[in-house]
């Protein structure tokens, strides 16, 4: 028989502390779909996704009932589309439409993989593909896009960084009736991972097998509650408590991932334990940091608290499962976290502090609204800064900023649902245009040369 306190702890985690399986993401290779024309490929892509993921939603709902843990999102990630679109790059939008159609047919929440990996160089067909992104994101609903522009091994492709600043601006412009919503579905990575189940950055790497199931688990509220239970603890004890909590959450994720993979006839890929906030109160990473003893997130000490949190989460996760992957750590998307929103509204959280925080957490500058008149070169420079942090520190970093058309500091954008709302954050007014115009490759750091 189980320890009754353990049983009740699990029930409380779900009922009161927002423990959930944030996503079951099925990764599907689209390499077998490449055909002679865009139309033929689009049809094969649609058919393959619809057949492989046919039971995804049904299985997820059934598992959710059986284990008593909510499964919030059902998603699909696919091979970076630039690869399968290479023979007909100018018509890539047809594949984008087929991907979005498949997502609608399946009834899933998001489909990721309208992506390109250009961290060392950008072929003509990849440039053509990337130029289709604004239009595709403006005309699709569930499709997400990500571009990898740098890595610790290859350096930073500054030509791609320059292009992505412009693409982000165009995407915002084409979705200006919704405050630049298209940009919420577009991530620019350094050191992108191939098995990430979280959006908007999920894609199915070419090193992966045919069909895999990756699971993302969340639970900022559970961690916050655990910390609340030991108000006098020192930081060593806090780290231990976070680690134990992360262990339990990851185990729940692993169980669901294994069973989902079995029922869906796919391989079990990884469990990604990432503390992913939602705009709901009590489901916030910022509030964890504040619970540790900060008056408001963004003040001095924030980076240290976040570093400890991120590391303890990883350690608990690694102990719980030998298949930990994805990003695993703490996310700090501003618009999706009630504590971050409030700190930003009160001026306590600025883009420079967020950049420092990204050096020690699992991703980057995420869901940050900036003035609509921010030049493309400034956005490129923000991307370059983040990529530099990722490249030098051997970690994934990302930029998902929304230059909200027609809006400035003092205004707010509201995307609703899990994407939340964000006050417009100021960026530096001084120009970075000459730096960005140089182009070329920032060489890989010396410590990448390990062979």
């Amino acid at each position: 028989m189980f320890n009754k306190y353990d049983v009740l702890e699990t029930i409380n985690m779900v009922e009161k502390e927002h423990l959930d399986i944030r996503t079951i993401t099925m990764g599907i290779s689209l390499l077998p779909c490449v055909a002679g024309s865009a139309d033929e490929t689009a049809k094969k892509v649609y058919d393959r996704i619809c057949s492989r993921a046919e039971n995804l939603v049904k299985v997820a709902e059934s598992l959710s009932m059986e284990y008593g843990i909510p499964i919030v999102n059902k998603r699909v990630s696919v091979t970076p589309a630039s690869i399968i679109c290479a023979p007909f790059a100018a018509q890539s939008a047809k594949i984008g439409k087929a991907l979005d159609d498949a997502a609608r047919t399946l009834g899933i929440d998001f489909l990721g993989g309208y992506s390109a990996l250009v961290h060392k160089g950008m072929a003509d067909y990849e440039k053509t593909f990337i130029e289709t992104i604004p239009e595709v994101l403006a005309t699709t609903e569930k499709l997400c896009s990500s571009i990898n522009i740098g890595s610790s091994k290859s350096g930073i492709n500054m030509d791609a960084v320059r292009l992505m600043g412009e693409i982000v601006k165009q995407t915002a412009e084409l979705t200006k009736s919704r405050d630049g919503f298209g940009c919420a579905k577009l991530v620019v990575f350094c050191n992108a991972v191939e098995d990430n189940p979280f959006m908007a950055g999920a894609f199915h790497g070419v090193g992966e097998s045919g069909t895999v199931v990756n699971v993302g688990v969340s639970g900022p509220g559970v961690v916050q509650h655990a910390i609340e239970s030991i108000p006098e603890a020192n930081l060593t004890e806090l780290a231990e408590m976070i680690k134990r909590t992360a262990f339990k959450i990851t185990r729940a994720g692993q169980l669901v991932a294994r069973e989902a993979a079995r029922r869906l006839g796919a391989e079990f890929g990884i469990v990604d334990l990432s503390l992913a906030p939602t705009p709901a109160r009590g489901d916030s990473v910022a509030q964890i940091l504040e619970e540790m003893g900060l008056e408001r997130v963004g003040t001095h000490g924030t980076t240290a608290c976040l570093a400890m949190l991120n590391d303890a989460v990883k350690k608990g996760g690694v102990m719980a499962s030998s298949r930990v992957g994805g990003l695993s750590g703490a996310f700090i998307p501003v618009s999706e976290d009630i504590g971050m929103i409030e700190a930003a509204e009160k001026g306590g959280l600025c883009i420079d502090k967020l950049e420092a925080m990204t050096a020690v957490c699992s991703v980057g500058l995420d869901m940050i609204a900036i003035p609509g008149d921010t030049p493309a070169s400034t956005i490129s420079a923000i991307i370059a800064d983040e990529a530099a942090i990722g490249m030098i520190n051997n970690k994934t970093t990302a930029v998902r900023v929304i230059p909200a058309p027609g809006k400035g500091v003092g205004d707010c954008v509201n995307f609703g649902g899990l994407l939340g709302r964000a006050p417009i954050m100021p960026v530096h007014g001084e120009s970075s245009a000459k730096f960005i115009a140089r182009g070329g490759l920032i060489p890989a750091p010396i410590h990448s040369n390990k062979n």
């Binding site: 189980f2 009740l8 009932m65 008593g68 169980l255």
Partner: protein, 89 residues
Amino acid sequence: MRAVVTVVGKDKTGIIAKVSAFLAEKGVNILDISQTILQDYFAMIMLVDMSGAKDELSVLAQECSEMGKKIGMSIHLQHEEIFNAMHRV
């Protein structure tokens, strides 16, 4: 297959009777019961055998939850593996 039933709510007369009668009707065999009062709240945990159950686990879980609402309690029926996974190294 075994599952865990938890019943949590304000203590009152007849909770065990109602829940066990419901489970018997559904062909679910009770293997073990543990009951306690936590901060004025009644908390009961049952380990049950589902091999003779008339419905699938996911269906029964839904029915338990609905039955709980009728008697003003929060009732969960979950696969035992979730507790093994989370609380055993």
